[in-house]
Amino acid sequence: MNQIDDKTDEELVRLVLKNKTDAFDILAKRYEKKLLRYGKRFLYNHENIEDVVQNVLTKAYVNIKSFDPSRKFSPWIYRIAHNEFINLIKKEKKLPFLFLEADVIFSFAGEKNFLKDIETREEKEEIEKYLHKLKEKYREPIVLYYFEEKDYQEISDILKIPVSTVGTRLKRGRSEIKKLLHEKRK
């Protein structure tokens, strides 16, 4: 079991494709807590998070043959999670048709290094307090970047938006949180 535990996500997927259920068990355990954390921050402690994450893992298994093991597994399963979270939000309220958002159509000026100053745990905790006040389109990239430690390319693959738009949304989310922090301190 130790040997299989040491395998990479992609190697585990190859075993799952050979019907090795224990490989999926390990893979799912690796991602269960991460997806719960992602969901709780993005959906702001929605009461059905566990059910949604169960759906994510179920869909990951059912659709595993669509995954190309030469690519990274993490963005793939996070993409499934993103879709499930968005579907949950849509059931409860109307979301704009994100395909036609201006920053997806026109964004060019993504700033890749502007967030280097957010290093400390205290700053992250501060950001977490105000996450729920952000719009979903700014909240999600911040959760994925700061708390799930995804890079720009991965966030682009998860959200299926241009890399430059990832930078733009991170910047705007950060500005919104700064404003909220500033108002709180007044």
Binding site: E50, V62, I64, I161, V163
Partner: protein
């Protein structure tokens, strides 16, 4: 499978379902078929886009709409009212559909959408001009005029003979009582009357017999109140004789 404590309750639920056979992986063939469907749709929409784009170029050429440049707002207004805008609308719908389906691919969604849309537009415009030059539409048009084109015959007959209000193509014949007389494409004769609304009166006085002209103005009982006009070089249409030859 060894039972564990409830550190990962969600995983346990899912794995139990797998072991009980309640969850099954979808087959590879399912995803291959889905990919073929997506690619098939993309190809189909792209071909339709090229067809419609080249059809618009055909409409512009066969109706000599490109000759209307520089002839004033009145003529442009007539063209705008007569133009088959539904073709343009269909093109935009297809571009949108291609954009939505294309977002599945990394090389599309990683770039700003405007880049993809501009790339599609440039390809459509270039390809449409090239396809139009191939005489494909003119061949269909001729068949349509001969009532030998099923399904699309009516569409081609309409698109090839767009009636642009108050626009008259023809040849200057002679001057009669200080009024130029022209023979219209339809074979009819009309006199050209200069009014206070006529633009380019100086040029009007320089017209010569035999010149091909485009005249804008309302025609009433064989007299056109000229608003604007221009002398034109009609394109040599080796592949598209103008269909007033009925």
């Amino acid at each position: 499978m060894k039972k564990e404590n409830s550190k990962n309750p969600i995983t346990e639920k899912v794995v139990s379902k797998i072991e009980r056979g309640e969850l099954k992986m979808k087959s590879r063939a399912y995803f291959v078929a889905k990919s073929f469907l997506v690619i098939g749709l993309l190809v189909l929409f792209s071909l339709l886009l090229l067809y419609l784009g080249s059809l618009i170029v055909f409409v512009l050429r066969v109706n000599d709409i490109l000759l209307f440049h520089g002839i004033g707002f009145y003529a442009i207004r007539s063209i705008l009212l007569s133009f088959p805008w539904y073709l343009v609308f269909l093109i935009f719908v297809l571009i949108l559909l291609i954009g939505v389906i294309g977002r599945k691919f990394q090389f599309v969604y990683r770039r700003p959408l405007i880049v993809s849309l501009i790339a599609i537009l440039v390809m459509v415009i270039v390809s449409s001009v090239l396809i139009e030059r191939s005489s494909l539409h003119y061949s269909f048009f001729r068949l349509a005029e001969q009532q030998r084109l099923p399904v699309a015959g009516g569409m081609y007959r309409n698109l090839g003979n767009i009636d642009i209000d108050n626009a008259h193509f023809g040849v200057i014949l002679e001057k009669q009582n200080d009024l130029w007389v022209m023979e219209l494409d339809s074979g009819e004769r009309a006199k050209l009357k200069v009014t206070e609304k006529t633009k380019g009166k100086r040029l009007y006085s320089q017209i010569e017999e035999g010149e091909k002209v485009l005249v804008i103005g309302e025609m009433d009982e064989g007299v056109i109140d000229v608003i604007n006009f221009k002398t034109i070089e009609r394109r040599s249409r080796s592949n598209n004789q103008r269909l007033n030859e009925r």
